[in-house]
């Protein structure tokens, strides 16, 4: 059963990590927290319900289309919410993203209704049996997709011109602009990439979470906790943090108390922050006064 819990915890942790990765990229690019990120993931799930289930578009093509749509939605979000307010305080922008979250939840209800939408697994009723251990194939798939994303974006950020531009804008936007980098375009690309990450997370979690209009709130809470634990701007931190949260939830519920599962997992985050206030992978910035 320990291996069972390990696989489930890793799987859930990777989902939280994928959504948190989307948050990390937005933070790295523009230093804001997007409180609507969880709802973007749910949007991907709802789109999967429409494309793959209702309209019977093949799964892989559906994923491709959904990633493009989420990338576009994220860019529109950047143009309509972030860009007009970028010179205002980040708190104001964060509050606006809360408004976007509420807006999206209501749009989901108008378009898809208030009923839960079960998304069938692409694996049907197939389960991976290893002795007594029963593993849902979604969980290993999530782990594989997360590994692929990490490998891809490490390559992208360090070996491509666009990736280096994103890192330059994150380091110092003004200097990047002086170097001839179109910072506005880079920021839009960052949002678009964040949208794709979130789309993948939403597609992976849809068969597990069962879509409802308010599911985004739960995911947002977990992803934000991971973001804080990871140190806000750390890509490996988001994944590691997600896995820590996922494992602590599953093992805490199993060996301590299912009733206090959330308290246990968030308690662990608090302990980590007590010892590492800047997060697991965050760095302390010293300012001269």
């Amino acid at each position: 059963m320990v291996i069972q819990l390990l696989v489930n915890g890793l799987g859930m942790g990777c989902i939280y990590g994928l959504v948190a990765l989307g948050l990390v990229f937005i933070w790295k690019g523009v230093r804001i927290v997007n409180f609507a990120q969880g709802d973007f993931a749910i949007l991907a799930g709802y789109l999967l319900a429409s494309f793959y289930i209702e309209w019977q578009i093949p799964y892989v093509i559906s994923i491709f289309i959904i990633c493009i749509i989420l990338a576009l939605v994220s860019v529109i979000f950047e143009r309509l919410v972030y860009r007009p307010l970028k010179n205002v305080s980040s708190v104001t922008i964060a509050v606006c993203t809360v408004g976007v979250s509420i807006f999206l939840q209501n749009i989901f209800q108008i378009i898809w209704g208030g009923m839960f939408i079960p998304i069938p697994s692409i694996f049907g009723s197939y389960l991976i049996m290893v002795g007594d251990i029963v593993i849902r194939p979604e969980y290993p798939l999530i782990i594989v997709v997360t590994l692929f994303v990490i490998i891809f974006q490490q390559y992208f950020l360090y070996n491509t011109v666009q990736g280096k531009a994103m890192r330059a804008v994150e380091a110092d936007r003004d200097v990047a602009s002086l170097m001839g980098i179109d910072t506005a375009k880079v920021v839009s690309t960052t949002f678009a990439y964040s949208g794709v990450l979130t789309a993948l997370a939403g597609i992976m979690l849809a068969p597990i979470f069962f879509l409802s209009t308010a599911s985004g709130s739960l995911i947002r809470l977990k992803a934000l906790a991971v973001l804080v634990m990871a140190g806000f701007a750390s890509v490996p931190g988001a994944v590691v943090g997600g896995i820590i949260l996922g494992l602590s939830e599953v093992f805490g519920a199993s060996y301590i108390s299912s009733e206090y599962k959330e308290a246990i997992s968030f308690g662990i985050i608090i302990i980590i922050l007590l010892f590492r206030p800047s997060g697991l992978f965050g760095s302390t910035v010293k300012k001269k006064v």
Binding site: Q4, G114, F116, F210, S212, S254, S257
Partner: protein, 376 residues
């Protein structure tokens, strides 16, 4: 002689005709339900049922010549349910169809007592709400209390299914905790105790830990005292993890939405102590279900039939009262007996709960089948 005739005519006029102080005006019935949020599907079903009832009433000329109009308020959270009640009071509704959530009814109850009405018919089932010690003059119930439901669930698990090891998973809110306490007390009366007790919280998606416990202990029957989404996911994962065990669930376990979440095959053989079975062969139920499907092109759930019956109960009370005065309606609710789709409503004068009937159903070949109907 002329004076006595005049006096008699006045007496006949005053007492012989129904006094309808709202003649020509609408009868306002408020509906508190979850219109948004994770439980928005409950609100959708409730609207179906309530609108269907009002359409029938108005097509038949309304109540005492006055047409009925519904006013909906959202009660996504407990705080929102108190606000919803206050808003309906401001609208001066004559009566309310209240929540199906025990935790929300418990939150609103003190407000209703404090402000004195209007009368509310609710679908809450927590024994604490329907206890004789609870101060309640205005809130009536149209579903069997969990006191009866848990008694039958435990009895069925131990006597009919011959289980020695019964596991309980409860949701950590008023509904779940009150149900757990009631079941623990019932086991005590049988000199038994549950083999395993575990819990979950609203929004939980993974039940591996809880299933692990039941597997370790070797439970033969599990009683999940949880909400629809959590219950559906729990049964689904129980099936996926290959645990062959009997399940005796609460009323919504044979509801179309919960069964959809459980998945085909996962729910086969599952038992439920329930108010309503959409596939029941009882003529009144079957006729109503057919009419509902014709109107809404989908199968009804417990939430729709509760709202339908609640509107009709209030309509019957208003008709009997002859006025739309909340106190008169409340008094009429204490007197009337109404044959609803769920069962017969007759308010207990001490607790104000009016429904004392449940059905035990089992899912056979993907469809719930009523095994027994029990009236207290």
């Amino acid at each position: 002689m002329k004076r006595s005739i005049l006096f008699t005519m006045i007496l006949v006029f005053v007492f012989g005709l129904p006094i309808n102080c709202i003649a020509g005006e609408e009868i306002r019935i408020g509906v508190m339900t979850t219109l948004t949020g994770e439980a928005a599907y409950i609100g959708e079903y409730a609207q179906d049922g309530a609108n269907m009832a009002v359409k029938e009433i108005n097509d038949n000329g309304g109540i005492n010549g006055s047409l009925v109009k519904l006013y909906y308020e959202d009660e996504t959270t407990t705080t929102a349910s108190i606000n919803a009640y206050r808003k309906l009071r401001e609208r001066k509704v004559h009566a309310i169809v209240g929540s199906i959530y025990s935790v929300k009814v418990a939150a609103v109850l003190p407000e209703v007592q404090k402000f004195g009405g209007p009368p509310i018919v609710v679908g809450a089932t927590s024994p604490k709400i329907w206890s004789k010690e609870t101060e309640n003059d205005w809130v009536f119930g149209d579903r069997a209390s969990d006191e009866l439901v848990t008694k039958l669930a435990v009895k069925f698990a131990v006597e009919e299914l011959n289980a020695d090891k019964v596991g309980i998973i409860y949701i950590n809110d008023d509904f779940g905790r009150d149900g757990l306490e009631a079941m623990k007390a019932l086991f005590e009366t049988r000199n038994m105790e549950p083999a395993a007790i575990t819990s979950c919280v609203e929004g939980d998606k993974d039940f591996t830990a809880q299933i692990r416990l039941f597997k370790q202990v070797g439970c033969e029957v599990i009683i999940p005292w949880v909400h629809p989404l959590e219950g559906g996911l729990f049964v689904r994962q129980l099936h996926q993890l290959g645990m062959d065990v009997d399940i005796v669930g609460p009323s919504h376990f044979v509801s179309v939405q919960t069964m959809e979440i459980m998945g085909k095959d996962a729910d086969e053989g599952l038992y439920s102590v329930t108010d309503f079975v959409a596939s029941s062969e009882e003529p009144k139920v079957a006729e109503w279900v057919a009419e509902y499907i014709k109107l809404y092109d989908r199968e009804p759930a417990l939430f729709s039939v509760f709202a339908y019956d609640a509107v009709n109960i209030l309509a019957a009370a208003i008709e009997k009262a002859g006025t739309a005065d909340p106190e008169d309606i409340r008094d009429a609710l204490l007197e009337i007996e109404v044959e609803g789709i769920i069962g017969t409503f007759k308010a207990n004068p001490e607790t104000l709960n009016g429904l004392h009937q449940v059905r035990i159903a089992q899912i056979q070949n993907g469809k719930p089948v009523v095994l027994q109907t029990i009236k207290e």
